[in-house]
Point group: C2
Chain length 307, copies 2
Amino acid sequence: MAILLLLNQVDPTLLEKHLKALPDCPQVRIWPNAGEKNDIKCAIVWKHDEGVLNDFPNLKLIASYGAGVENILSDPALPENVPITRFVDDTLSSQMAEYVLAAILNHRLHITHYRELQAATVWNSGEFLKGKNVTILGMGELGAVTGKSLVQNGYIVSGWSRSQKQIESIKSYYGDDQLRLSVSDADYIVCLLPLTPATTGILNKELFSHAKKGAHVINVGRGDHLNEEDLLDALYNQQISSATLDVYSTEPLPSDHPFWKHPKIHMTPHIASATDKEQVARQILENYNRVLNDMPLNNQVDPEKAY
Amino acid sequence: MAILLLLNQVDPTLLEKHLKALPDCPQVRIWPNAGEKNDIKCAIVWKHDEGVLNDFPNLKLIASYGAGVENILSDPALPENVPITRFVDDTLSSQMAEYVLAAILNHRLHITHYRELQAATVWNSGEFLKGKNVTILGMGELGAVTGKSLVQNGYIVSGWSRSQKQIESIKSYYGDDQLRLSVSDADYIVCLLPLTPATTGILNKELFSHAKKGAHVINVGRGDHLNEEDLLDALYNQQISSATLDVYSTEPLPSDHPFWKHPKIHMTPHIASATDKEQVARQILENYNRVLNDMPLNNQVDPEKAY
């Protein structure tokens, strides 16, 4: 029995170390050196090559290395009847909540602006922005924790999701019909949706046109949630005042991309949801033991819903 | 009967407007046009000229325009037996708490660093800093609200003050003997003290030498709490990793001051504790009515303690 690390664009060294440090860890192999294919019971997966998971006839668990599973589900040759789990942890959620709070505080307190004034040796003070209405698109684990953190910090938070949610102090909008309404009063629009065909390009001209004029957009979901051209247009015509972006359709963002030099766009290089490798190791080994003992899995993905 | 606005370096227009908008507001006069001096029952004061308060024989209340009163108490010719009040409000405290949280998040998440990378078209991601120990020097109203906000956001908070404080989840250090100890484990040292002879220059070489190596210093008290030369030395020898400064010994900071171009210093132009003029007007008129009716005052200053 063995666990296979099947990771593209991620260095497996740290995860391997954390797995091996746990008691009862089976053999760990690192793709493409999978060894005897019948041994592989569990694959830890990130941006795997199409069809490769079919090479392992005894696979019992496909564990996503991250919170998102769109890279797994988009494989047309995904083995059937193998459960998929995703990574959900407090570190990731609290880290995301911190990032979103930092982005909002930076905007409200004009911190980046003062940084630029400092560089230019200009003393010019202003007031904090008053607007504290935040709408979070996507009220899963990350959205809920982020929303609760913002409520605690004095923000008026609404959430939009596929189905209605009951979360204290957070107004729930749901379904396609309420999407426009959900952003109509928001000073900040935060995207924390899973990427699905229905949510691809959801941050677009149509949505921006129903937003409060001058709203700030924060994309911490996936790059493909955002229609980049539509954002540039909305910034140009001031329908959207500014944006904080952590994710991009192409990462790293190509050096000739207009976002780099845009004065209204605050970029970070996909840092808001970096995976805590020690936590990943713990969760996956727990599910590995569960699947071998026919116990229900933690954080199992429903392929129909794509999360 | 009249209220006198005796403000230096502050435009009185907005405060006058907010005072006049309140019911039962007496006549408002703006220094130096004080009119008949016997009329003046209350002076709203900011950086007044020495001795000027003695011109008003019927003065019943000296109301500080801001939270600090050192400018009032430093007047050697201050009229005796006239009570002094200071401005304390939730807006100021929550604003201060937001500023300190923003400063810490910016440091922990490397937001300013990413801003510089963006300007240089460099994609290079890192992890959030783990250190979450914060020591707040000064546990008055601002320190307590800031500390509670940080605790809510997952920080481990200690406070140092003149006398012992009982605040939930905040360890209390007190007295000169415990000052060094209070900063020995802090990743962030936040100064929110009142400025008194005992606290002038408290952020100095001696204190830095007892801090955890690589601590980040946040000065939101008064500029004179900080020994500027000692900070530059501590940054140079890396005992202190970086600093966020909102207040300075001379404001605006002279354009040839080394802080402007220092890569480890994040400057803002005294924005963390900007006074909400509407709140000032309400509080002072309330105290004005109290003093006329021999009622106890809100937020009265003890001149012995200087706060």
